[in-house]
């Protein structure tokens, strides 16, 4: 069984052997930054293509198939086009905020990557309050969206931003409470320890029905948090043309677009980590042989496989459901999801206290 743990470990040992600790840390940071940005660009390309292919499959068409084999370079070509396009700033816009907003959204998306464990021992920052950090940082993205909507000096943008603000702030609650369920069960906020607690089975299977409910609520809430259909009211093409990013063009628009996909990846990665065991392989009780075979699959494949499965789910939602109305959206959160998840948290706590989980 090979893993990425060896690579990172030997790299670190080598750096600390040859440089003094400060320089070693600086070089490590640089490597991490380059890797993070590369991962970003790559994920953007892959996810956009995946979305288009999934959409095409749902809509009985072929999807992009001209640029490169099976249209694989379509997104690269689109990105090239967007880079070369003029980034317009409208006349009446608040220029500073208007140009700052896409970067705020982007930086927030990048920051959340830090505590995510991509594979065994492959993590940028093993912070002991990882889950808290993730939920804290992810709520910042609404600032960028509000900024964009307000600074555009466009009524559609303003409406979109206001909707987005109301939506993200509300759905943060039930997403947070669903995350808390797992924190209560595993007794830790550290992402690594949460994964370690799923050594003998994923929480989705170990935690009885309350955890399944928490998982469902989590998926609904993060779909809303990332402004994806059926909760895409902030963009609502048929109502607000493009919502908060109506006035953006060129690379500034691309940053919003990219941030949306990165956010999807991140929330799905969190979902996979908390409920589906992160990079932990799938084990069934005492089936030694089966478990052994599962162990042979590299941990990074487990992690990305689970994450991409959840991403596929979210894409599936988008291409199936109509959009909710704004009051229905808030009703769903405040009248249904929040009370259910609060009660659910209570159940999970009882299970955790009495140790009824497997």
């Amino acid at each position: 069984m090979f893993s990425l743990e060896g690579i990172t470990k030997s790299l670190q040992d080598w750096l600390y052997l040859n440089f003094n600790p400060t320089w070693a840390l600086v070089i490590e940071c640089l490597i991490v930054i380059v890797l993070a940005i590369a991962l970003f660009a790559f994920l953007g390309l892959v996810l956009v293509l995946m979305e288009r292919k999934v959409a095409a499959h749902m809509q009985i068409r072929l999807g992009p198939n001209r640029v490169g084999p099976k249209g694989m370079f379509q997104t690269a070509a689109d990105t090239l086009k967007l880079i070369m396009k003029e980034g317009l700033t409208p006349d009446g816009a608040d220029k500073f905020l208007f140009n700052l907003a896409p970067f705020v959204v982007m930086i927030v998306a990048m920051l959340i990557l830090a505590p995510i464990a991509f594979a065994k021992g492959f993590q940028i920052w093993d912070i002991n309050i990882g889950v808290l950090y993730v939920s804290a940082i992810s709520s910042l993205s609404v600032i960028g969206i509000l900024m964009a909507g307000w600074a555009s000096n466009n009524k559609y943008s303003l409406l979109g931003a206001m909707r987005s603000g109301a939506q993200i702030v509300s759905y943060e609650l039930s997403a947070g409470i669903s995350i808390l369920c797992i924190v209560v069960l595993s007794g830790s906020l550290s992402i690594n320890e949460i994964i370690a607690s799923q050594q003998n089975g994923w929480w989705l299977f170990k935690g009885h029905i309350p955890v399944i409910i928490a998982f469902v609520i989590f998926m609904i809430a993060v779909t809303a948090e990332t402004n994806r259909a059926p909760f895409d009211l902030a963009e609502a093409e048929s109502e607000l043309t493009a919502g908060f990013h109506t006035e953006y063009s060129g690379m500034k628009f691309a940053l919003f677009f990219l941030a949306e996909y990165i956010n999807i990846f991140i929330v799905c990665a969190i979902g996979a980590t908390l409920f589906l065991g992160g990079w932990m392989p799938f084990h069934i009780g005492n089936w030694q042989d089966f478990n052994h075979i599962m162990d042979y699959i590299p941990s990074s494949i487990w992690f990305f496989g689970k994450t991409f499965f959840l991403i596929f789910l979210i894409m599936w939602f988008r291409w199936t459901f109509p959009r909710l109305r704004v009051d229905q959206l808030l009703n769903l959160e405040w009248k249904y999801l929040l009370p259910i998840s609060l009660f659910n948290l209570l159940l999970v706590t009882v299970i955790a206290i009495f140790g009824w989980h497997f």
Partner: protein
């Protein structure tokens, strides 16, 4: 002439007319939800709509005026461009008016073909509406499913009429050409295909809980209001007004076929939606009764080369996919009409939008516009 900056200034002026706490938004003329160049000036209080003011004229081609200088054979072709989704029915109405004036007896074969074509067009139009309706609500996928079946109808049209959208197939005295030899088989194949797919529509959209929540109880139009706004077609029938011209004033062979007038009494968006979906089933029923019984004979009555309507006024109406289309011709006895007027269904249906939309949210406005099934060239002409 306006310069560009002047226009921008004018629109901003336009938008800042609102009172304190009101937001005036121009939806259109270029907007994804208006399906064309309709311009709505909506006054908002937060997300709640206080007023909707439709502005027309962006696609006015003065078809009525143009018709005054075209002969009775020529002017029919222009009318395909009014409500392009019911091109057959528009042509049909015009042809019938001329036939009424000249007292031409249309051969039975032509009558059958006309009705089959009308109903096929109705299905095609409702399918496009169904897809666009779902798109207005943010679901993109149904659009493609609707177009899959609509394509089959367009192929049938192409084979028989030579065109897919603006068919120009109806002429005074009958139809322009006889049906394609494979026409009957193709239509039967289509019916078979369509029957297997229409349940998929219900699974994908009608039964969806989000869809039902978006549609039920919004955009209420009472029976009285529907009548006073002059609504017709599925919009009026969704409010329980019995107004199907095919049933009330049957033309061609509609009195010989068995079909139901679809009525829903709720008067909300969902009722209008259900009327159209059920109408597709009824259209299939009509076609099934006729397709095997097309009588032999002429497809066109013998007419003079130059048509001259006698002096007088002539009016006929048909049921298009959107409602009642009336054609009113004033003739002075010449080869061209003296004055022509179309009573288009879309215009009256649009006038009810303000009444329906007040007090609801922006998202619902789009849903209501979807259920009105507006075709802008039909409103503007």
């Amino acid at each position: 002439m306006y310069t560009e900056t002047q226009i921008i200034k004018d629109t901003t002026q336009f938008s800042s007319n609102g009172h304190e706490g009101e937001l005036v938004i121009n939806v259109g003329p270029q907007h994804p939800a208006t399906h064309g160049v309709l311009h709505l000036v909506i006054t908002l209080n937060g997300e709640t709509i206080k007023k909707v003011e439709p502005h027309l004229g962006y696609i006015h081609r003065s078809i009525e005026k143009m018709c005054e200088s075209l002969t009775y054979r020529q002017f029919i072709y222009v009318t395909s461009r009014m409500d392009y989704l019911s091109a057959h029915m528009n042509n049909h109405a015009c042809a019938m008016t001329v036939e009424k004036g000249l007292q031409i007896e249309v051969p039975p074969r032509a009558q059958y073909i006309r009705v089959i074509m009308d109903e096929l067009t109705r299905i095609a139009s409702h399918e496009l509406w169904w897809g666009a309706m779902a798109m207005d609500l943010g679901a993109f996928t149904p659009f493609f499913y609707a177009f899959r079946e609509r394509e089959t109808i367009n192929d049938i049209m192409e084979e028989t009429c030579g065109a897919r959208l603006t068919m120009n197939y109806m002429v005074p005295g009958g139809v322009m050409a006889d049906i394609h030899p494979l026409f009957q088989q193709k239509v039967k194949d289509f019916i078979k295909l369509f029957k297997s797919k229409i349940d998929e529509y219900d699974e994908l959209v009608t039964g969806n809980i989000i869809f039902q929540n978006r549609m039920k109880g919004v955009g209420l139009l009472s029976k009285e209001d529907a009548i006073s706004y002059g609504c017709s077609g599925p919009v009026a029938r969704g409010s329980g007004v019995s107004c199907d011209i095919r049933k009330l004033y049957p033309y061609e062979v509609y009195d010989k076929v068995a079909f139901d007038e679809v009525l829903e009494n709720e008067g909300d968006s969902f009722a209008r939606y259900m009327v159209r979906v059920r109408e597709m089933h009824q259209s299939i029923r009509i076609i099934e009764q006729l397709i095997d019984n097309i009588p032999e004979g002429d497809f066109q009555a013998k007419t003079k080369a130059v048509l001259k309507l006698p002096k007088g006024e002539f009016y006929t109406r048909v049921e298009t996919a959107r409602g009642e289309l009336g054609v009113y011709i004033v003739s002075e006895g010449g080869t061209t009409p003296y004055r022509i007027k179309f009573r288009s269904p879309g215009f009256s249906n649009l006038s009810a939008l303000d009444h329906m939309a007040r007090g609801s949210k922006i998202g619902d406005l789009m849903a209501m516009m979807g259920t009105l099934d507006l075709v802008i060239p039909d409103i503007d002409r």
